[in-house]
Symmetry: C2
Subunit: 193 residues, 2 copies
DNA sequence: CTCTTGTCGAACACCACTGTTCGAGTTACG
DNA sequence: CGTAACTCGAACAGTGGTGTTCGACAAGAG
């Protein structure tokens, strides 16, 4: 069939995707030359497979989300919502830590809203858990769920920033984040665990 | 004396500073042409007063910090640490809301560490209040102060992002932020106010 | 083995920006 | 009023990226 790519082309596409993930994770502003070099491929070849830098970034980001979803979908969300949240944060944190710079690249390359659009699934997971925790009275209901989600994102990305600046170690981060969020989500009048 | 600038030069410098604040607050990547035009001044004149775009950004940022300090220094920090924090957040939030984009400009223009360096005073104020709250047992002591400060910053800047994205109104923000931070800073075992 | 598909490097056009230079004109200041 | 300080537009050089074109060449598919 005419649609199938040749074997070496497929290999190169994979190599470019991997190299782009690597480069953009180090430097969100990495150029196509850098990425092509890292992939062991000519710049022309790169443009042969991805029409523009933006579309490459998009592809890389989509792939990262898929990998993340695979990991996140294995986290059990039943039982005590607080413990479930701790598990979810633990898993999410590893992804944020790994892909923080990639997110920056996507944020200032892709059209506005695109990043959020691709985050729909992971966000829905968090929202659902928060909703359940609220109905069981262990998470606060005096603030919108969307705000709580935003707080979670910002605390995690803030932690990634602290690590990059060398003011926090990867090991400590997860504990700090969960402790902070569990307290932040506690309903007024209740005791912080 | 030879050091004094001519009157029109001083006016232009002020106009450039104001225009830069305005432009960079709208678009962190604003060019020198844009800024000069907004100031009603030729690009050459701009370079006559500021050796480079970076030094202009630095000057604008320094000025913004000074203005902020003036406002922050009037916040009373005595009494119940929780109420003091609420007051401090209220004031800080107005500044963050106004200068969020400017911070981005500074962050990716100025040398690493410069922004933090200029934030030394406002940060010291927050740290001092947090320390006092800890010693009085109303803020948690199981996490480093530096982490708590980072959480405060990230929650506020996250709120600014939500506003820019149109998912949050300026009016609601301050309340959400204080409610979130007061809970997050509550010591484990204590009740959230 | 043949032919299509893909690859490569070098060169090119293009763009938007920074920072500089020039010379002529204008404005404050003493 | 005279001079030094300042301003202006236009034009220039330099930089660092994106995306394209070319022609020679290699490699996989049938």
């Amino acid at each position: 069939m005419g649609v199938t790519k040749r074997a070496d082309a497929q290999r190169n596409i994979a190599a470019i995707l991997a190299a782009a993930t690597e480069c953009l994770s180090r430097n969100p502003a990495a150029s196509t030359s850098e990425i092509a070099k890292e992939a062991g491929v000519g710049r022309v070849t790169l443009y042969g497979h991805f029409p523009s830098r933006a579309e490459l970034v998009d592809a890389v980001f989509v792939h990262a989300i898929e990998v993340g979803e695979q990991s996140l979908s294995q986290v059990g969300l039943t039982g005590d919502p607080r413990e479930a949240l701790a598990r979810l944060v633990e898993s999410s944190w590893h992804l944020v830590d790994r892909y923080a710079a990639l997110l920056v690249a996507a944020l200032d390359t892709l059209p506005p809203g695109r990043v959020r659009e691709l985050h729909a699934d992971p966000m829905a997971r968090v929202e659902k858990l928060l909703e359940r925790g609220r109905s069981e009275g262990v998470f606060r209901s005096d603030l919108p769920v969307s705000w709580l989600v935003s707080v979670m994102h910002n605390v995690m990305h803030g932690a990634a920033g602290e690590i990059q600046a060398g003011r926090l170690s990867s090991g400590e981060a997860a504990g700090y984040i969960t402790a902070t969020l569990l307290a932040a989500f506690t309903p007024p009048g209740e005791r912080v665990t």
